[in-house]
Symmetry: C2
Subunit: 214 residues, 2 copies
């Protein structure tokens, strides 16, 4: 396996956590420098027409894309430890938490969107940072309310072992901190983040621990 | 079951298609008027803290949210016809196509984001429409390249039966048409859309066919 990775991509960060939790070490890693635009290079686009990281190249040459699809693939092909609960309703809850981050927060705040805001719409720094903070706060507020109230919430987002939901939560919190967003209104999210980062699978996946970290 | 629905929500549209494909008719439907802000009403927020549609209330009172999580739940609890392929790599491909729409196009173009652009950032109509078109084109171009080239593409996004990928593609194309985006550069997407809409499960889920359509 070869992981196409970038230390600061929170989608790649999700896959790194899942690979560590599963004990799957990809044979090789290629670092795609997003700020230098390496994801738009022809050889990378041939591999992943989306021009996004991460991508996971299997030994048979197939290339998997989209972090949540990759994590589900890893969960199906390496079932232990499971990253989704055994019951359908629990699986739906975990997937919904993951999607609340992957569909409602992250897409609005990734690099290409911020570039469009400043480049095409001409927003200033305050407007750009306001945009970033607004969508994080909207998403985290809803997530905090849900996790605080649900009986299914445990040490982790769902029960006592990490799931796909935690795999998405930790990178999003790391992003929020990098943009200096006050996360103190979200004590449940922060508590779960701490429980996750106490595990080496999470800690070793952190952006600052990657070989391409700047 | 009760579906919390809105005719123009493309995320709800995905769930309507899946329910029709599975032959599951929810006992009741509640229409949440997004343009009138009904999703922010306290009783709806108590049900779904995200304040988004769709939501699917099960007979035991559990409430499922996030359209892709709901569709996966329906697929697990009503396995026939399957909306995901049997093999893990095929499942990963279908999920990635769905996520390419659900994470890379739709979140940038939904109502609350467009409202932020005009309300908070003060963009004019041309800038707002330019934003909409830009993210649809970026997403559709990548998807067209992928579907056009992959051997796994068939009558539908993946093979000869509809999957989660088609469930996401058709509503996104409907949205693009509503915003008068030229979809002729995406012949593979349009061909698949036609194949889908020839099926009553897709046709009957269309926004214009819903009781709350304006």
């Amino acid at each position: 396996m070869r992981l196409y990775d970038y230390f600061r991509s929170s989608a790649a960060y999700r896959v790194r956590i899942a690979l560590n939790l599963k004990g799957v070490v990809p044979t090789e890693r290629t670092f795609v420098h997003l700020r230098m635009g390496s994801q738009r290079a022809q050889d990378y686009l041939a591999l992943n027409p989306q021009g996004l990281v991460p991508a996971l190249e299997l030994d048979d040459g197939r290339v998997l894309t989209q972090s949540l699809a990759i994590v589900e693939y890893l969960d199906e092909t390496h079932p232990t430890p499971p990253l989704l609960p055994a019951d359908a309703a629990g699986r739906a809850r975990v997937r919904a938490i993951a999607l609340n981050i992957a569909c409602e927060i992250h897409p609005l705040n990734n690099l290409r969107v911020l570039n469009y805001l400043t480049g095409t719409l001409g927003t200033n720094d305050a407007q750009r940072n306001g945009w970033y903070k607004y969508w994080v706060d909207v998403g985290f507020e809803a997530l905090e309310r849900q996790l605080e109230r649900d009986d299914d919430t445990g040490t982790f987002c769902h029960g006592e072992t990490p799931t796909l939901a935690d795999v998405c939560l930790v990178p999003q919190l790391a992003n929020a901190r990098r943009f200096k967003i006050d996360v103190s209104p979200y004590p449940t999210l922060v508590r779960i983040e701490s429980a996750c980062n106490a595990l080496s699978a999470f800690a070793q996946a952190a952006p600052s621990r990657q070989p391409d970290a700047e």
